[in-house]
Symmetry: D2
Subunit: 102 residues, 4 copies
């Protein structure tokens, strides 16, 4: 299983891009894959092909009416891991013994 964090937004639409990011989040939310939205990106969990298919749909929905799009993707594959979306955070809380902010 793969954890994939991504952010995608137009850079030709001025300072505020939340209408475009909202479209992206609707695709993510409709994908059925487990995900977590954060202040700087959204993390999906699934097989490589599954998570990349979501990113491709998000790209397509922006490319429909944006002239320039920036996208950053970070991927963490670990053989045999499931539940990494919560597991990584839980493991850090346990290890530090602190109520780390999420």
């Amino acid at each position: 299983m793969v954890l994939l964090e991504f952010s995608i937004y137009p850079t030709d639409k001025g300072e505020s891009v939340s209408p475009y990011v909202a479209r992206v989040l609707e695709i993510v939310d409709d994908s059925g894959l487990p995900y977590r939205l954060g202040p700087m990106g959204t993390t999906l969990e699934g097989e490589y092909g599954q998570v990349m298919a979501v990113v491709e749909r998000c790209f397509a929905v922006l490319a429909a009416d944006c002239n320039r799009i920036a996208c950053q993707i970070k991927l963490d594959y670990r053989r045999g891991r499931t539940g990494g979306l919560d597991g990584k955070v839980d493991s850090l809380r346990a290890r530090t013994g602190r109520d780390l902010h999420t």
Copy 2:
């Protein structure tokens, strides 16, 4: 104010690096800056110099006993914005009218 997301970890310590990432999170948690830990990175909010100073301390604590370190940083500056750590997510919830997962 700046939002800075980063992840930092050794790549010479084998498959599991959580003991090293725990050190990093203790520095973040002790920094006093508002932050959010996610499955793929930690986001800090503050002035440029403040957030970068935290990253530098994290780098130093790993460089003490790691031979190779990877770090990824993503920065979003918006003039006049405060409270972006929660504000960006809240704004997407409002705009989509969905209880997006965080």
Copy 3:
């Protein structure tokens, strides 16, 4: 057309990963897409589906015998642009009037 920069490497194989990165570069070089190798990543130019297909082959070749893999991808789409691989650098040289190092 899209410019896609990526780096991909195992994090469970110790400090030196060049044998694994060499496999990746052979796939890139065999892809037939225009590319540029740099010290921190490789940039491909093509349609979204074309460049992502190369990344997927690179992931598969590492996942065959690596337990943990990190990958970072950065994408720049600009409608109507071709030749961006050299064009962006050429434009900066022209604009600065300097022989910028590549």
Copy 4:
């Protein structure tokens, strides 16, 4: 020594940002640090404090008249390495036996 790749640009100035990226490259070129400009970012080599000081100057020059700035940074520290800017590429050429494009 550290290799640091970064890209930084305003997202509130429309589709073309080369005048702003040109400012950044002038700072990089004037820094005296070894660097390589690529189609998706610039890689610097130096001590952690040296390379981060260059990024900070670039941020400051954009923040002077941009309302929103995006920046991505990727860092690779390897103890005892020097000459990594060319060394990593040379090593991949040697290992693959191919004239990889740079």
